[in-house]
Symmetry: C2
Subunit: 269 residues, 2 copies
């Protein structure tokens, strides 16, 4: 059973990666550059980076890795205390558009297996200009998608996202939120897998639509300055607080894949 | 005795601040903007920021603060376990020049007093283009200055600097080093204070000279790109590893003063 979910999850992340890359390349005149990398334990990943006219810098990374958690790590991971062996597969995407009218967009989903198994992931967006109405639509649609699976998902995962993507030292959120979930294992891995698939498809469609909708909106130097400052905050969050970044750098992960999320250009006042 | 050193150190940092500000303004057509800030305990500081043609972004900060360390902090600070009260005065400078032929320059010196007292500080530079000969000169001159005080200083403090300003996840140094020292209290606070003064004067003269020498050197777009990438690494170091930044943000210090060191513009590949 676990073996089947592992296989299906890995295949789905590959399929979703193909779909996202294809859609994004459809908007651009350039293609993604691919780079395979090996994990220190077993397995590895495929990192794809695009530097286009619309997506100033974007990365799509999939990986399937396994190994044994360190003594320090195994205390923090469900089911790893008994046996430190882990197996994980996932997809992670960060898009930094050139046009300040389009938010930076972040998405990931993953499946982990120790002596326990669970799904985790999320979607969130970081606009740099006025985006209130757009953000409300984004949240309404996200709620509808979540409600199809479980009425508790949206309020719980929205709250988790707001709490997680918060820049403490500035007392401000990183963006306008979205959903964030982890340790999703309440018994029915099939329906949870279906939710994870829908999160991925939601992200795909959101990206496709917002690019179509806002790509021709004009902006001025001042808007670009605001974008650079907002991206500076993004950098602060990722280096100071993001668990994945800290975990990856501390455990000697692939630096390029971990820091794929860094914006192409950022500034500080 | 401690009271006298406190007073003299504070006065010296003020004097040095005036000297640095005056010299830097002499190179620029704009002036520093000043901003006073209050410490959560007692005291506060004066932060001065310049955004000039030569110094794209530069900050000079002096502060004199006192308070009581938290239970967590007092374990890590010499002499604070017995009594958590502290008094500290210092000066901190970061300069990010526009011309990629001039390195980013960092300097600070401070005097701390708990049930023990000590000086700390350092100078280091971060070039982004070929700088080998210049860096060698910088180190030779730094060594001469140190040797006037103690032959052990330069080798010991250079090593400390190399170890401290190292970007572990990239396995590369932040820049070309300099000196870094802390807990300088080997009995003769007068001669140590004299060393701290000389470190400040050395920095002042180095900045003045390198600006004069390299300000008219030309550069191209590619050099500027290299500078932005190098500044990205500078950001990574400061947010991931710098003790002062981490300490400041964790203890609710003045965010603007703590992040004064951030470059005006940085980029990631």
């Amino acid at each position: 059973m676990v073996g089947q979910v592992r296989h299906n999850a890995e295949e789905w992340f590959k399929e979703l990666r193909g779909k996202l890359v294809s859609t994004l390349e459809g908007h651009e005149s350039v293609q993604f550059k691919e780079k395979k990398w090996n994990h220190a334990g077993k397995g590895g990943g495929l990192m794809s980076i695009i530097k286009g006219d619309l997506i100033e810098k974007g990365g799509v990374n999939i990986s399937t890795v396994s190994g044994k958690f360190s003594d320090k790590m195994k205390e923090r991971i469900p089911g790893a205390k008994e046996d430190p062996s882990y197996w994980a597969t996932g997809i992670s995407v960060v898009l930094h558009p050139n046009n300040p009218n389009i938010p930076s967009m972040h998405f990931n989903t993953r499946y982990l297996s120790t002596t326990q198994t669970w799904f985790g992931g999320g979607i969130d967006i970081t606009p740099c200009l006025e985006f209130e109405k757009e953000a409300q639509n984004f949240h309404n649609n996200l709620k509808s998608m979540c409600d199809k699976h479980d009425n508790d998902y949206y309020p719980k995962f929205k709250k988790w996202c707001d709490e997680y993507f918060f820049i403490k030292h500035r007392n401000e959120p990183r963006g306008v939120g979205g959903i964030f979930f982890d340790y999703l294992n309440e018994g029915d891995s099939l329906s949870e897998f279906q939710f994870v698939k829908d999160v991925g498809l939601f992200f795909h469609d959101y990206v496709d639509n917002i690019l179509k909708k806002n790509k021709d909106k004009t902006w001025d130097d001042n808007d670009k300055k605001k974008q650079f400052i907002k991206r500076g905050r993004y950098v602060e969050f990722n280096l100071l607080y993001d668990r994945g970044t800290k975990f990856g750098l501390e455990t000697g992960g692939n630096v390029d894949a971990i820091l794929m999320s860094m914006p192409p250009q950022a500034s500080w006042k």
